[in-house]
Structure formats: C-alpha cells, structure tokens
C-alpha cells in the first residue's frame, strides 16, 4: 500500500505506537495516508480501535515476518 508518510514504531509497546500515531497525524494533511510500522501484536486491535474513536480511516493491516504495517487515512483535521 502506498503511504504519504511512515512512522517507525519497531520495538515499542502499548501505548507508545498509538501515542506516536496521534502525534504524527497532526503533521498530515486531510486525505493523506500514514503507514505505521510496528512489531507489537497489540496494534492489530489497537489501531482499528483508535481509528473508530478518532474518526480516521483504517485502510488495512499487513503482516510480514514479524513486521506489522498499518495504514491510516486522515479523515479530518
């Protein structure tokens, strides 16, 4: 999946990937996609939940060799 920006959260555990995602999203423009790369399995549940709470769009989750990539589209400012 193509992303406008990427955020490295490898080696970080809850709540840091979510906290960093929220912070990073401020730098994106509406409609842009953020890729979050993490290895904490919790993110597979946490990112969709975060998106549901904040109203941003969770586009998908890709997992390969312990690396979990989640894609979030900024839906509003």
């Amino acid at each position: 999946m193509k992303a406008d920006q990427s955020l490295d959260c490898m080696g970080l555990y809850c709540p840091m990937p979510i906290v960093k995602t929220a912070e990073k999203m401020k730098q994106l423009k509406k409609g842009e996609v953020l890729e979050v790369v993490a290895d904490d399995k919790g993110i597979k549940q946490d990112m969709p939940a975060w998106c549901e709470a904040t109203g941003h769009e969770c586009l998908g989750i890709e997992e390969k060799g312990g690396e979990i990539r989640t894609y979030v589209r900024k839906a509003h400012d």
Binding site: M16, A22, T54, G55
Partner: protein, 160 residues
C-alpha cells in the same frame, strides 16, 4: 468532531505499577481525542510530588509522615516484589528494555498532551501538603464534588 468524550481517573495508589497503568490509560485516552483528568488522592499524591527538595508541613506528625512517605515519581515502589529496592530496580530496567517511558517521562508526556492532573484537597489537608509540594504539571487542588462532577460527565471513570 463533536464534543470531546471525557476520561476521569482516580489515582489512589502510589505504587509504581499502578501509576504506570494509570498513565498508560491517560496518555492513550488523550491520543484518542479524549479529555483526560487524573484525580490524585491519598497515596496517589506521591506520584505527583516534587522529586527534589524537602516537603514542608506543619506539626510533628505531618513532618514525620512526609519524611517517611516522601514520594516523588522517582521514589515509587512496586506493589509486589519491591524486595528492598531490587525488584523495583529490575522492573525499571525491564521497562527501559521495552522502550516504555518512565513515570517521570509519562508525567511530562501526559502534561504535553493536555491531561489534567489534580491533587485532592482533603488528602492534602490531612497530610499537610500545599500546592508547592507538587510538581508544576499538577494544577489546582480540588475536592470530591469536583471529581464527581467530572465523573458524572465522563464516558469512562476508573479508580486505580
């Protein structure tokens, strides 16, 4: 988005592990766009006491209490396995190993994210603590009515 949802936490405990849970939820809540208030009472006040300097209070009993129960984010102990400091030291090392912020760092982070940290007035009065016993991130001193009014308007309220 519509009006912000509220998350209110009562931090009653001054244990390192419980404080960690409280700050994880507070910062995550703030990340989710929630308006977060942490109400610190009783032993929980230790979490937001200043780390440096001595705590000034009046009367021999309060003075003794504040020496024996000094508090401050860097002095918190585990609720279990403190083992004269060894267990707590190990846990802090493990936290660092998985890149988890320390309580100190969590307090700064929470503050930057707009989390309100409020000391309880009755506990402060009983223990002889004034506003200058607390770090600058803490704001005001409030009572049960303030907390209940916050809780009344909150989606989520937790007692830790």
């Amino acid at each position: 988005m519509a009006e912000k949802e509220k998350l209110t936490l009562v931090v009653f405990s001054g244990d390192l592990d419980r404080a960690l849970a409280a700050f994880m939820l507070a910062t995550t809540g703030a990340s989710m766009g929630m308006e977060v208030t942490m109400f610190f009472t009783f032993w929980g006040l230790n979490v937001i006491k200043k780390n440096e300097g001595s705590i000034k209070s009046k009367g021999i009993m309060r003075k003794m209490l504040n020496v024996m129960n000094r508090g401050g984010s860097s002095r918190l102990k585990m609720s279990k396995f403190h083992m004269f400091g060894l267990g707590t030291w190990m846990m802090k090392r493990l936290m660092k190993e998985v890149n988890l912020p320390s309580i100190e760092e969590f307090i700064t982070m929470a503050h930057q994210m707009g989390v309100k940290m409020v000391p309880c007035s009755t506990s402060c009065g009983m223990m002889g603590l004034s506003e200058d016993a607390f770090r600058s991130e803490a704001e005001g001193i409030a009572g049960a009515a303030y907390f209940l009014n916050e809780a009344r308007n909150s989606k989520v309220t937790l007692f830790i």
